[in-house]
């Protein structure tokens, strides 16, 4: 009898303790869920805010008109949209060869233990953390003025943004190259191919989906960058399209900056519409990245 009573008593104690703990557990879980939903709530609020401010301004005319300082009805983003497209093409032409070559060197050629490759590695890690505005200073001092002296033109903007996002391309491409199993390389080498033939015909094609994803990721970071372009002195307001790589230009984030720096709510609405255009470009790029990854990713 006694032992049964004791047992039921002790079970009660255990249960009571665990009810308290259970409430605390539930509270904790709810708090965690609340912090996680915070991010989603803000994302939703942001999208709703921009859409409700800007959707009515969005039209084909908005895409094909130059900006106006006088009438918010007739303003548009043609020069910025074209500037951004050129900027991204030039930027890609710079970061694809340089980024992939660096990744190939580090993964396929460099001796991991050598001081040089460790220096390059630490350096890339640090570059990834440098604030974008500092790249603007680099662009201003070396590309726009100084040794290259290009002026605030398309090529200067593309090179500045390219240097900024190069670490992204390198880091992602290295992972993609590393994921190609060494049996592929050994097979190719055993058949008499040189190291470069092996890389060009086997390693790079295998790593291509990953590399492409990295490039798109890098470009979708570059497309939204405002600060470095402001610092190198790119125009925020341009009633002309760039026609060559040595022409002055403006870009979407700069046009948005110009619109929302105006206190007039109609111009700010134009800014919201321009944001929608920029976000649409970003969605298309990211969808492209996801498609590439799903369609071409190989399981070895």
């Amino acid at each position: 009898m006694n032992t049964v009573a004791e047992a039921s008593l002790s079970r009660k104690v255990v249960e009571r303790a665990s009810t308290g703990q259970r409430t605390r557990d539930l509270m904790f879980r709810l708090a965690l869920l609340a912090s996680l939903s915070m991010g989603f709530v803000v994302l939703a609020a942001l999208v709703i805010d921009v859409v409700s401010d800007g959707a009515s301004k969005l039209s084909l005319d908005f895409l094909t008109s130059f900006p106006s300082r006088i009438s918010p009805e007739n303003t548009g983003v043609e020069s910025a949209l074209i500037g951004t497209v050129y900027l991204m093409i030039l930027c890609a032409l710079f970061i694809v060869p340089v980024g992939v070559a660096t990744a190939v060197y580090l993964e396929e050629y460099a001796n991991r233990e050598s001081r040089l490759s460790r220096l390059i590695e630490v350096n890339i890690q640090n570059l990834a953390a440098v604030p974008s505005v500092v790249y603007g200073i680099l662009g201003l001092a070396f590309i726009v003025r100084g040794p290259l002296g290009l002026g605030p033109v398309l090529l200067a903007g593309a090179l500045t943004l390219g240097l900024l996002v190069l670490p992204v391309v390198i880091i992602v491409s290295r992972e993609a190259i590393r994921a190609v199993p060494s049996s592929i390389r050994e097979g190719s080498l055993a058949l008499g191919a040189t190291q470069w033939q092996t890389i060009w015909k086997h390693v790079l094609p295998g790593a291509l989906p990953g590399v492409a994803t990295g490039v798109i990721l890098a470009l979708s970071r570059a497309i939204g960058e405002t600060a470095p372009l402001l610092v190198i002195g790119a125009a925020t307001f341009a009633r002309f399209n760039p026609e060559g790589i040595t022409d002055r230009f403006t870009a979407m984030p700069l046009a948005i900056f110009e619109f929302i720096s105006d206190a007039d709510t109609d111009f700010r609405a134009a800014g919201a519409a321009a944001i929608l255009v920029l976000l649409a470009l970003l969605v298309v790029m990211n969808a492209g990245a996801i498609f590439l990854r799903n369609r071409y990713e190989r399981k070895w």
């Binding site: 665990s18 703990q21 259970r22 605390r24 557990d25 904790f28 879980r29 965690l32 869920l33 912090s35 996680l36 915070m38 991010g39 989603f40 994302l43 942001l46 805010d49 060869p97 340089v98 070559a101 660096t102 190939v104 060197y105 991991r112 220096l119 350096n123 890690q125 640090n126 570059l127 953390a129 440098v130 604030p131 505005v133 500092v134 603007g136 200073i137 201003l140 001092a141 070396f142 100084g146 240097l163 390198i170 590393r178 080498l189 008499g192 040189t194 190291q195 470069w196 970071r221 939204g224 960058e225 405002t226 600060a227 402001l230 984030p253 948005i256 929302i260 919201a272 920029l278 976000l279």
Partner: protein, 308 residues
């Protein structure tokens, strides 16, 4: 891969010349990253040294009046207010980003099922892919007028609170994803051991997993701080263009990065100390982020050493 490969390559002269050329071309590309760093350092230092020819280092580092762009006698280059505003804005941001970011990380790593985690984490990462000019717009046209003024707060149209809060949202995903990686690196056997002793999920998360991943979580926070310190456009758009040595978050504030962007757009002669101030502030910002990055790398190494 990491293991040294046996030297299988054939040695044939015509081919090997080409192979060597390719090797050097690739090396040249890899050196561009080193050149970038060198370029950044040179471009910063050259003008910074010139700047200190005009302005004393002591006046710069310890002066409490920052009015570099005003002409004549009211011009002053004391960087303290600018550094203070930068840290203050970062502080507001971290007050948001740390609890919410770490909370999100614990949920993703310890509570969410793998399927839920696989869906939610990329959506959270979308938030960090939104261009910062969009966050600036959000702070300026929604957070300040609708939320802050809606709550009855007496804030100006440009204020530190709105810019700081949105800055926090910007770095939240960085902190959440890096901290989630750190928590995920804690071996399952530690969790199983604690569960086996009767611990609840909350106890396991807080008393076993979290302490074990602490250095990784700290690295996440430092990384978030370093991103917040260097953010330009949110502050430029929503924080205002004046520095204020005050603890009142309703006032306008400017950080170092926003100053650089604003001043480089202003029409100033490239020979004077105003121009040099851009680079001196750039150097200060660069050194601060470099330091934070070094700390974060050190913490990451530490937690890797324990479990890998």
């Amino acid at each position: 891969m990491g293991a040294p490969r046996p030297d299988l390559y054939r040695k044939r002269t015509r081919r090997s010349t080409g192979e060597a050329a390719i090797r050097y071309a690739l090396l040249a590309a890899a050196l561009i990253s080193i050149l970038t760093t060198t370029g950044i350092v040179i471009s910063l230092l050259e003008e910074t040294v010139k700047f200190f020819g005009h302005v004393g280092i002591g006046d710069y580092l310890f002066g409490t009046k920052w009015t570099p762009l005003s002409g004549g006698r009211s011009q002053s280059f004391g960087v303290v207010p600018l550094v203070f505003d930068t840290l203050y804005l970062t502080g507001i941001g971290l007050l948001v980003a740390v609890p919410f970011g770490v909370g999100s990380a614990i949920y993703l790593s310890e509570y969410a099922s793998p399927r839920v985690r696989k869906t939610l984490k990329p959506i959270l990462e979308v938030l960090s892919g939104v261009p910062t000019i969009v966050f600036g717009y959000f702070a300026l046209t929604f957070v300040t007028p609708t939320i802050l003024k809606g709550l009855g707060l007496e804030v100006g149209s440009f204020n530190a609170l709105s810019a700081g809060l949105v800055l926090g949202v910007l770095v939240l995903p960085t902190i959440a994803t890096v901290a989630d990686d750190a928590l995920g690196a804690v071996p399952g056997s530690l969790r199983e051991g604690a569960f086996g002793l009767g611990a609840s999920r909350m106890q396991v998360s807080l008393r076993v997993v979290f302490p074990a991943a602490l250095s990784g979580v700290v690295a996440a926070l430092v990384l978030g701080a370093s991103r917040a310190i260097g953010e330009t456009v949110i502050i430029l758009v929503a924080g205002g263009q004046t520095t204020n040595l005050t603890l009142d978050p309703a006032q306008a504030m400017q950080n170092m990065a926003a100053f650089i962007a604003a001043a480089s757009r202003a029409d100033i002669p490239t020979s004077g100390p105003e121009y040099g101030a851009i680079f001196a502030v750039g150097t200060t910002l660069f050194l601060m982020t470099l330091l934070l990055n070094a700390i974060s790398i050190r913490f990451v190494r530490k937690y890797r050493q324990v479990y890998e």
